[in-house]
Every structure is written in C-alpha cells, then in structure tokens.
C-alpha cells in the first residue's frame, strides 16, 4: 500500500496535516511534523504533547492524513486507523532518536520527549488529484 514512490513524502521534509473527529463529530485539523513509515501497511505518528488529536483518536480511531511529496509538491491522502500505541521497541526508539537529535540542537532534549508512538493501519492511499476528480482516472 505504501509504495517506494510515496516514501519521500514520509521523511518529514514537508509537514503533513491530520484530520480527526471528536466523539461529538467535530472535525479537528492540525499540522504535524512527520508521518513515519513503519511497513507496507502501517504508518506512525509521534505523540509528544497531549493534544486534541490524540484525545480524538481515543474516541474515533479513524483519521485522514495529507502528506506532501517533496519532489513535485504532489499531495497524497491516507485513510488511517489507530491500531496500537507503542512506548518502547525499535519503532519507538527510532522516532525518539530523531526527535532527540533535533531537540538537542536547541538544548530542548528534556522538553521534546516522545511519549509514545501511535501506529496506524493504512486503509487507502490516494493522490489528492484523484480524490478530487475521480472521473479523471477512469
């Protein structure tokens, strides 16, 4: 599902957007620094602060992220579903390490701590142009 072609969009080069909904169906859209590739069918987000996004995911695990390909600024939509939360292990370590590397440049390594890695199953990957004009792809 996550192709080689999409990989550059999952490197944190251009920030991504995520849309979640609250338990009373109010949508929330926020900017996130990186959507991490996990495997062919999973991505992960870093939870550093207790934000509305992560509160929303407790009641509705479904979300949509928009990632941007750095080469052509092409936008991709991923329908994702929160399936588990990791606070140790290789994925957590890798994400935590990246965060520490950047944060330590501002001596903020104690502030910017990864609380947990939210792992999502990817249900669909669509280019935004296809999503907007589905007929054009037929």
């Amino acid at each position: 599902m996550i192709s080689e072609e999409l990989m550059p969009a999952l490197q944190g080069i251009v920030p991504a957007w995520i849309v979640t909904t609250s338990d009373d169906n109010v949508p929330n859209c926020t900017c996130i620094s990186q959507v991490y590739p996990v495997d062919e069918n999973h991505v992960a987000l870093s939870n550093q602060f207790f934000s509305k996004t992560f509160r929303n995911l407790q009641s509705n695990p479904h979300a949509v992220v928009q990632v941007i390909h750095p080469a052509d600024i092409g936008m991709w939509l991923l329908e994702i579903e929160h399936v588990r939360t990791e606070s140790d292990g290789p994925l957590f370590d890798e994400m935590d390490m990246q965060l520490a590397a950047i944060a330590s440049m501002s001596n903020m390594e104690d502030v910017f701590k990864l609380q947990s890695a939210y792992v999502f199953k990817v249900h669909s990957v669509t280019q935004l142009s296809e999503a907007l004009h589905p007929a054009a792809t037929l």
Partner: protein, 416 residues
C-alpha cells in the same frame, strides 16, 4: 469454451513465475554487489595502517563508488567527537567538535544507532518556532538538509561517527543506509587498527627516548618488548664521558627550576652532537653525559671536539641572560664492553658495563687538574691513525683510581 480460460490461467501463472524469478534475480544481483563491495573494501581500500591514507581512501570510496559528495569522519574522544577527516566541504572544518548527545551526529554517538534524517532545515525551523530558541550551528554542510550518520563501532567500543550529507532535502534512501551499514563495521575496524598502530608508534618513539634504538640494535633486538634480563652482547666500543666543571656552586646560585632548565638547555645543545657522530647516549647522570660509539674512536673524538666548539656558542647565548660561562671536561677511552639488560624483574635498565667505562670516567675527572678539557687514552690515539687534523699533546701519565698501572693520557685539540 474452457480452453481459453485454462490458457489465461497458465499465462497468469507463467507471468507470476517470471515475476518471482525476476525478483529473485534482482535480490541475487544485489547480494553479489554487496559481496563485491565488501571484498573491494577489505582487500584494497582499508588495507593500510596509515590513518591519513586510510581517511583519504574511505573518502574516495564513498565519493567514487557510492556517489556521496559530502562526508565526514568524527573520532570519539570520550565526551565529544572531533572531525578527523572531511570530503567535499568548502571549509573542511577539521578539528571541530560535537558533544556526545547533541544534534544528529551526537545523538547517533550516544545511542549507537544509524540515523537517516531528511528535511533537516524544516525540522530545525519547527523546533525554533515551538521553543523560540535558535538551534546551534553544528559542523555540517552550511545548508545540509539531509544527513545519514552511522556509529563506527568495534565490538562495544565507539570509534567515531561517519556522516554523509547533502544540501538536497531528500538525498538518501533506505539503500544508502543499507550500504553504509554494510561497510561501517569494516571502516570502524580499519580506523581502530590504524589508530592503535599510531598509538603504538608513538609509544615506541617515546620508549626509544629512554632506551635508544642503537642500544637495542647492539643487542640485535627490534623492539624493547623483545628484551629480557641478562640479554647482552660484547664488543669493542668507545666510551665518552662529559661533565660540567664546577656545576655545583653554579647551580647553588639558581632556583631548582632554573638549574633544571639550564641543564636541559645544555644537554639540548650537546646531545644531538653525539648522534650526529654515530654515537648514542647511554645515560645522563645529572649534567654528565655517558655516550657510546660502537664504530671508530675517531667518531667519539670528533664529537668531543664539536661539543667544545658548541660550548662556546652556548656560553655566548647564556651570557646574554647574565649567566657566567661554563667549562666542561671530556674523557674518551676505547676497549671491550658488555652491553646488556641489568636490574631485577620489574625494574630493568639497558646499560654498558666494563673497565673501559670506569677509565673514560676517570679521564674526564682528570681534566680538572690538567690544562685541557678533552683527554683521551693511548688506545684511542693509536686508533686515530695519522690523524692529521688533530693536534695531539702527550700529557704524561696519570694515576687512575683503582688501577695499579698509570695511564698515558693525551690532550686533543683541532689543528688550527
């Protein structure tokens, strides 16, 4: 109409088989490439103990074989890493340090894991916006936007960090990371070996200042590690003794530190002359020098005369600092000597022993009562041959402490 369906299935199956075969072939070809890379690296590129050559080879490898334009090697110095080699950077940044735990490079060193970081500029801006602080400049390419940093480890020891950079945001992929992972162990081992070898050379060099190489070669040893108690060799050699006349009253007018500096200045003038004329210094005894000349006695005499000449310059130099001139006495004698390792168990010393040593020392002492500063024995004069360049003065016989027979002695000066 079942036949066409059957053939479609077969076609699909064949196409699927072909896809799998292609995939396997691709994997095999990739493995073969990996093996080739590993073989080339270990056999040609990393096969040197010269650290500078090794750094050059690694940089060339990364540039020419893997296409990485900007690379750095930082060596671990405990709490920080120091840039030891770099390639492609305008300002090479050698010697710049990174604290362990800071930035991409420091974090890789701390956690001992490879990191591939893209979009560095965006990420740093993000932290700056959120925290309101500036990020610290690190020794990277001015506009580095992508980095791979990999720990160089030998077993549990962190040798350093290897860094590849690019000003492009999306310069590296998983394959680059894989290549670096493959070569990093070998690179680390090669650097560690070369660094250890350099350390060993420095140690050997330091050792040779305490036990001269010439002394070891007399014992037919390559290194001090080969020597043992009772190692010895016998032969005809010339011994030169020199001493500063009346140094004790002179030193009393100085602080201990001044006296120390004065002696080192003096020895710094005299010691190179010994080597220049083919001798080596067996030991210093305070301001006195005991030197051995394994070759001809003429070497020792030439060295002695040169020492007297240099003393004049030394005195002129110290006079400008308000110090009185010094005089030295030199005694030279040739005879049978045993060079060997003496001492016991954990405190050994290489030295020469023989009657000849005592005689040379007594000759040096005898210059106190004679109008010459360089005194040699008859044996030395006999070996000088025609010695047209020297003025040799017979000064009669002197009594040598502990000897029944008197010794014929000669003063030597350059023929003017």
């Amino acid at each position: 109409m079942s036949e066409p369906v059957f053939s479609t299935e077969i076609k699909q199956q064949m196409s699927e088989n072909q896809r799998q075969i292609d995939q396997l072939n691709e994997q095999l070809s990739r493995k073969t490439d990996e093996i080739k890379i590993i073989q080339t690296i270990s056999s040609e590129i990393l096969n040197t103990l010269d650290l500078e050559v090794l750094f050059g080879n690694i940089m060339a490898l990364m540039h020419e074989v893997f296409g990485f334009d900007y690379c750095m090697i930082l060596l671990n110095e405990g709490s920080l890493l120091r840039v030891a080699a770099s390639h492609g950077h305008d300002d090479q940044g050698l010697g710049i340090t990174v604290p362990i735990g800071k930035g991409v490079i420091g974090t890789v060193a701390q956690r001992r894991k490879i990191m591939r970081m893209m979009g560095l500029r965006t990420r740093r801006r993000y932290v700056q916006k959120v925290t309101g602080t500036d990020t610290e400049a690190l020794p990277t390419l001015e506009d580095a936007d992508s980095q791979i940093a990999i720990p160089l480890q030998v077993k549990d020891k962190l040798v350093g960090v290897y860094v590849v950079e690019s000003e492009k945001a999306n310069a590296f992929n998983a394959l680059d990371e894989e290549i670096l992972t493959i070569v990093s162990n070998q690179v680390a081992a090669a650097i560690d070996n070369a660094a250890a070898y350099r350390e060993l050379q420095l140690l050997a060099e330091a050792n040779s200042r305490f036990v001269p190489r010439e002394f070891l070669s007399l014992l037919q040893k390559e290194s001090i590690t080969e020597t043992e108690l009772n190692d010895q060799t016998e032969g005809k050699m010339t011994v030169l003794f020199s001493d500063i006349r009346d140094f004790t009253p002179l030193s009393e007018s100085m602080t201990p530190a001044e006296a120390f500096a004065f002696v080192n200045d003096y020895l710094g003038t005299m010691a190179p002359i010994i080597r220049e004329y083919g001798g080596f210094i067996d030991k210093y005894i305070g301001d006195a020098i005991m030197a051995i000349f394994p070759g001809s006695p003429q070497d020792a005499v030439a060295a002695g005369l040169k020492m007297e000449e240099s003393l004049q310059h030394f005195n002129q130099h110290t006079a400008t600092a308000g110090k009185p001139p010094i005089r030295i006495g030199i005694g030279i004698h040739t005879g049978q000597l045993v060079a060997g390792i003496i001492g016991f168990a954990d405190r050994l010393e290489g030295t020469v022993i023989g009657d000849c040593v005592n005689t040379a020392s007594r000759l040096e002492g005898a210059t106190k009562d004679l109008p010459v500063s360089l005194l040699v024995s008859e044996t030395v004069v006999e070996e000088l041959g025609d010695a047209a360049e020297y003025a040799i003065d017979s000064l009669g016989e002197v009594e040598i402490k502990g000897k029944k027979e008197k010794l014929k002695v000669y003063g030597i000066a350059p023929r003017s």
